[in-house]
Symmetry: C4
Subunit: 344 residues, 4 copies
Amino acid sequence: MEPINLFDYEKLAQERLDPAIWEHIYGGSEDEVTLHANRSAFEHLRLRPRVLVDVSTIDMHISALGAPLSMPIGIAPSAGHQIVVPEGEYATAHAAEQANTLMIVSCFASRTVEEIASATTGPLWLQIYTHRSLEITGRLVQRAEHAGYRAIVLTVDTAHLGRRERDLRNNFQRTQYAPLANFIDTTGTTPAQLNHLIDTWETVDWLRSLTKLPILLKGILTAEDALLAVERGVDGIIVSNHGGRQLDGALASIEALPEIALAVAERCEIYLDGGIRRGSDVMKAIALGARAVFIGRPILWGMAVAGEIGAKHVLEILRQELYMAMTLAGRPDLAALDRSLIKS
Amino acid sequence: MEPINLFDYEKLAQERLDPAIWEHIYGGSEDEVTLHANRSAFEHLRLRPRVLVDVSTIDMHISALGAPLSMPIGIAPSAGHQIVVPEGEYATAHAAEQANTLMIVSCFASRTVEEIASATTGPLWLQIYTHRSLEITGRLVQRAEHAGYRAIVLTVDTAHLGRRERDLRNNFQRTQYAPLANFIDTTGTTPAQLNHLIDTWETVDWLRSLTKLPILLKGILTAEDALLAVERGVDGIIVSNHGGRQLDGALASIEALPEIALAVAERCEIYLDGGIRRGSDVMKAIALGARAVFIGRPILWGMAVAGEIGAKHVLEILRQELYMAMTLAGRPDLAALDRSLIKS
Amino acid sequence: MEPINLFDYEKLAQERLDPAIWEHIYGGSEDEVTLHANRSAFEHLRLRPRVLVDVSTIDMHISALGAPLSMPIGIAPSAGHQIVVPEGEYATAHAAEQANTLMIVSCFASRTVEEIASATTGPLWLQIYTHRSLEITGRLVQRAEHAGYRAIVLTVDTAHLGRRERDLRNNFQRTQYAPLANFIDTTGTTPAQLNHLIDTWETVDWLRSLTKLPILLKGILTAEDALLAVERGVDGIIVSNHGGRQLDGALASIEALPEIALAVAERCEIYLDGGIRRGSDVMKAIALGARAVFIGRPILWGMAVAGEIGAKHVLEILRQELYMAMTLAGRPDLAALDRSLIKS
Amino acid sequence: MEPINLFDYEKLAQERLDPAIWEHIYGGSEDEVTLHANRSAFEHLRLRPRVLVDVSTIDMHISALGAPLSMPIGIAPSAGHQIVVPEGEYATAHAAEQANTLMIVSCFASRTVEEIASATTGPLWLQIYTHRSLEITGRLVQRAEHAGYRAIVLTVDTAHLGRRERDLRNNFQRTQYAPLANFIDTTGTTPAQLNHLIDTWETVDWLRSLTKLPILLKGILTAEDALLAVERGVDGIIVSNHGGRQLDGALASIEALPEIALAVAERCEIYLDGGIRRGSDVMKAIALGARAVFIGRPILWGMAVAGEIGAKHVLEILRQELYMAMTLAGRPDLAALDRSLIKS
């Protein structure tokens, strides 16, 4: 099968990957209610296309915290890409660069922040958890700043690692397949240490004091927390439920977006991940208040199927679908994607 | 199986047609969400029948832009009917004539507008896209006017051809099966040229200046665009999502109808296509604001099964079902089909 | 299998009956949307049970147009019971008598009105259609009055016989299995003549002038028609969609009931049929405004399985289930079954 | 399979138990609509997690009528535990004690109230029905008071035993597997006598006069009855539909909770059982107004799989899941579980 959409890549990746790795990528927490809600919430939104608009030029350029992107679709952070391809994050970074878009590097990458930065001229953000020792995290942030990363993304939905039952049944250990490159020289930092982080809003202040880079919070799902984030002066929010891998039963990210957009009132940038599989999903997210979206699993599928080329193809498929969706919806630029696009 | 309803014709047609042709006719764009929504939206509407009304005579006559029709059911435009039957649009036109109803001829018909006009005394409308060269389109409109067509239907939902993945997987090329009869003498007009039309509301003005024929816009799904159409002085609107073949995720046509009817307030005629499979669907559409409806795929099924006779039978089945539905709903004429018919 | 509920009787009846007869009893019109809606509408109603009420005595006695019944469950009219059991309506009448409840006899019974009346001391109502010749109908009404029937039920939802596609496919002719006993001596009255009745509200006046018996209209589904019925002075309404056999897509009878109860405001008696399969369904119908309910298909299932005893058992199962439901809902009599029973 | 959640225990228990016993435990009344509603109502509630809250300590301690518990999860009463394990309620009581939580002992336990009390130092409540002779019930209450039970739970939803059709088909007799230990010396008290209790609000007064122990009513599903309970001075309410085993069609217990919490306004303690299978369900129930929840079937599954250890493991799984859910929802204690947790 020649893959023509992201679902094709999903099927092909499943065929090629070790079942335990496949399940690790596929799975959500507990009953996977939120995992499925992320998709079904998109499917239930109905579009109101406009006609006879001049769509001879579709402009999907956007800047993300100042960095120009060719489209409002970037790569979400996910741990150790060597799990699917030997090149690991090199492949991902090249794909992002060729697509002229942004990659968010996971602190649990299987390549160091410096290695990844040296492999691309494209914009990079670093996703971090604050590990038990703030010192370790602080060093990593400074390394990223030094290596030219443009922003720090603090994941805030992982006070404890979600209960992913597929991994428990498979006794899956990610570090068997992909090293924690950024922590190899650090005594004692292991995924196990992630099991109880104790971040609070003070952590954000600490991070603010540590770096001049813009700061985003990833994992916000309520207007209340979005307001607190704005008050703390963060530069961006990523509306996310961690791909359905943390609190099972949490609302779909696209369901959370409208109240957050209303509360933020453009005082910081808003992004979204979770459930994006079609260009029309990107359009829906932007219409409901996101500046851009990030995709996680589909990038891994692309790499599992065809390495860097696969990841690039996944991005290009979404770009073409978004181009098509904006054309057919009569919305020639991203500013035209407003609430009137969605049937209420 | 002796077909007694349109679903029977669907099954029989699937048995008889080449699978790639079947999928071409069946399919919608991308995930076919809108394709299925067209049906399910009808199924979810509940009817409120009235009783003890005099239904000894059921009057379903109506005029469409002045042309008298025996029933509020016409034939929607679809490309190259030779794809299902060698006679192509001759068969369709004969079926429409015998049913005393209207046929909308696709500009991509496999017979020329003149050939089709000469085959019938019934009313014909011509559906057009504005091709890259307005000159080509202009010539076609003038040919249609000369051949006695009663109106021009400009499809406005196809700025780009929707992504029909079944056709992509089958590498389906419609022109292998049915020629573009109207463009055979035209250098360089191919379906590929449809891939990026750049119509705007000015196109409507241009069309208005070109012909005295009534003009309809097909593919409107919002009150906003319906108002713009009225302001431009169009004679009619066809509420349509192109049978679920253009923007996937677009709302069902019957879902769009109420707000459009409210906005238009009888300042132009309103028609609908998409998902009509039963006489009671026709009744629902009229109750929610349509003057008449058009059917597309069922006509092709009829022709695939029994040529002209099949197409005629499909129309007669719907007529009988509508007759029955109006009788059982206690609505003896089309004016009696109002909002009170639908449970809110 | 020992049948312990009505669904058991359904399965057993299907095993025993000729498939064409089974389908005739089972089927609804067209896509059977209304047939299924009749059930699902009941299933979606949630009950609010009260506790610590004195339910040591459950009183489910009621009168129907003055006739005392042991429970608010009667037998709906259905044609020719010889279709399932040689004794035909004798069996049904005996079952009703033993259950101390009411039977509505169909004018298309396979026993004459006089024969049925002579077989039972229980209350009977006669259901009629007004046939092409009012004279024929008039004679039948007078025969019923003379034979001691207590009321006339005019079916008003059958201006034309609904399109029952199962019967069409089976080429099913009911008169092959069960004679039209009441019309055997009448020249030229056949089921075919039912195909176009032309009743209007004047028919009700005519019927009123013809007989002193109470008159009910069966097949009303809207508040508008209920009001007209009250204005004409009818004694009762049976909310019904003819078991999903007439207008497909019509709302479920239980969905129609609340607006009708509100409009009637106790100015005539209200009954309901359609979809009753459990005692709790009876309770729901009464809570939403019905005085009693009628069951149709389950009686035929009972008779198909065990003749008169089966029909009686079906009635007794429902009685026991209603008894249980009222007990567990904390409603010791029918007056206690009000809107507060249903979760809104 | 190593069980890691309650659904695993369900599957394992089904494999190990005699099918008739399995069905007895599994089943609900009639069509099991309420049984399934108990689960689906939980699944449809969407959570709004907060972030960056200090969750370094999760406090799930609570008191139940003054008795300190380590978590808001106790054991619901269910009859004769010897049905699944020879030790019967000894195993259950040990599991509760080790989990530092509460067990509600059924009056139909297969061990006497004294035996169970002597097996544990943990808090016990006694669930009772008022049997035909109040004297029998009174003696049992006094025995419980004497044995150190902390409260009496009067089940109020069982005026008649619900119609559990699985048991009817299996001709299941619980006393074949588990004796009624508390009534062995009592002439003539059998489950059959439960078939028609005639409790009223006066029964509550009688019980109040009989014992100084706190009194709870189990089986309340409406605000009306919750108010009456408060007026009668009860100490607690258990919102419950008896696990879907009494009135089929009754609303899910979690659906009933909000109106009851609103009506009670903290004038007595509110508990809930029915459908709890995940820690996040516990969290949802508390957010909507419950003080704690009780689980029934899962305890029996645990015991069927591994006796006392299994029951303990079931409790510990739920504790861990609740711990995780509170952590990931950013709610470090039970007071933080309020309505804002649930997406409205």
